[in-house]
Symmetry: D2
Amino acid sequence: MAEGVHSYTFRVRYAETDAMGVAHHSSYVIWFEAARVELLRDLSLPYTELEQRGFSMPVIELNVRYQRPAYFDDLLTVQTWIAELGEVRLRLAYRLIRERDGKAQVIAEAQTQHAFLDRNGRITRLRNHPDLQARFQELVHQLRGPA
Amino acid sequence: MAEGVHSYTFRVRYAETDAMGVAHHSSYVIWFEAARVELLRDLSLPYTELEQRGFSMPVIELNVRYQRPAYFDDLLTVQTWIAELGEVRLRLAYRLIRERDGKAQVIAEAQTQHAFLDRNGRITRLRNHPDLQARFQELVHQLRGPA
Amino acid sequence: MAEGVHSYTFRVRYAETDAMGVAHHSSYVIWFEAARVELLRDLSLPYTELEQRGFSMPVIELNVRYQRPAYFDDLLTVQTWIAELGEVRLRLAYRLIRERDGKAQVIAEAQTQHAFLDRNGRITRLRNHPDLQARFQELVHQLRGPA
Amino acid sequence: MAEGVHSYTFRVRYAETDAMGVAHHSSYVIWFEAARVELLRDLSLPYTELEQRGFSMPVIELNVRYQRPAYFDDLLTVQTWIAELGEVRLRLAYRLIRERDGKAQVIAEAQTQHAFLDRNGRITRLRNHPDLQARFQELVHQLRGPA
């Protein structure tokens, strides 16, 4: 958190590779989601708890730029930060990196946009959830992105 | 149906392959499920309708024997039949084949066992669902397996 | 093709849904790829043949806008067209629709960008592959997008 | 290892759930593979190294008994041990457990059978790979299964 990003480290699974010998481009989408879930947990906003309150944040937009291939068994890190916190939506930014020989290679960069929905699947304003709003506003300061 | 099996034909997707250049062994499990869904639809027991009635048939046991690799873009057929219809469970058998040069190659053989559950996730006897029971009993005669 | 798009129709699989009861957002990425593979096949440029020539078109950028949820067993159609054909890359556009009561609902819109790579994974110009270039240029006229 | 099993702990991902609100039965197959990869790494037989030597161990048989549902975000452990080491094949056993209130619940039990293949995809005897044979024989003693 010191660096303004949340970090989530994982291994590329064999099932996530494809016949080109690299991680399939759909796997990245799942990794970013796993990173998002860990970010919320580490920040005391576990996704399971949000769901119990009837608050959800489905992905409404996704952008990924694939820069280098990732391989089976690579140890990768997703760095995540808040690109924009709005009244009815949130935009997260991601950088997927591989440490090699002490240097970080960027594998991919991405953004996801999320809508805030209530129990009935209708758009809800963050100000209707004061404790979540307070928590998210703190995060904006903590997770400003890489320096 | 004439042959005692239900047939479902599909293409192997790129995302279903792995770094060995073949279809990943977990993909087969998804294909057998897709075949099962088509079988139920073709037999006028669509899974979505079963779910609406609160009847479900989760997989409680799975066995797969992998005999030959399957490749990206292969046109494969799952032949499905009823191995055993019990009071509280159903056993389905599958044969995954590839037509090549007019001959059918067996890629894999499998079985899944399913429990009958009611709306509350409790085991339910088929006789409590007379119309389903009648329909399933007909199927036992139609889907006896390959000659 | 008459309408300037290629159409690929498929069913949402159970394995593609998630605990929100809708198709998971990563599944769309796999559907767009399946549509792309069928587009190339229908246009006599099967992907397996491109690969044999050592020509590949990995995804280097992906954008998806999710507009409505898709559900298990939905019969969906991906409409695909060529957004831009460059010397070293291709941009495809997609519209995912569901027919309901005779009307087409847009579920998602997307774009993928692809780099042209040779056998050694290096960027290759389309003009180095005259027959592919001719075929792709025809496609630009056929697949201009929905009217 | 003290207990005769290798342990691999992980979180259930959202993408691994389905519309029944539980982890999809195909996800387990991927978790067992991830456990297998970690087992080999922890035992100084990393799968990437085996592959570089041209030695592979594809799954030729799979059996899973699903006993309790697993849920999104569950922290699960795969316990793996060697059920049988043959001259041309290996059988691994798995137990998937969830710790809850200090007690371990069994979620599933499974076995996979693997063929030993050489660089050309032909069956190879373990005795043709003396160092691997020695290493695997040690493992048989270490990984005898739960007491």
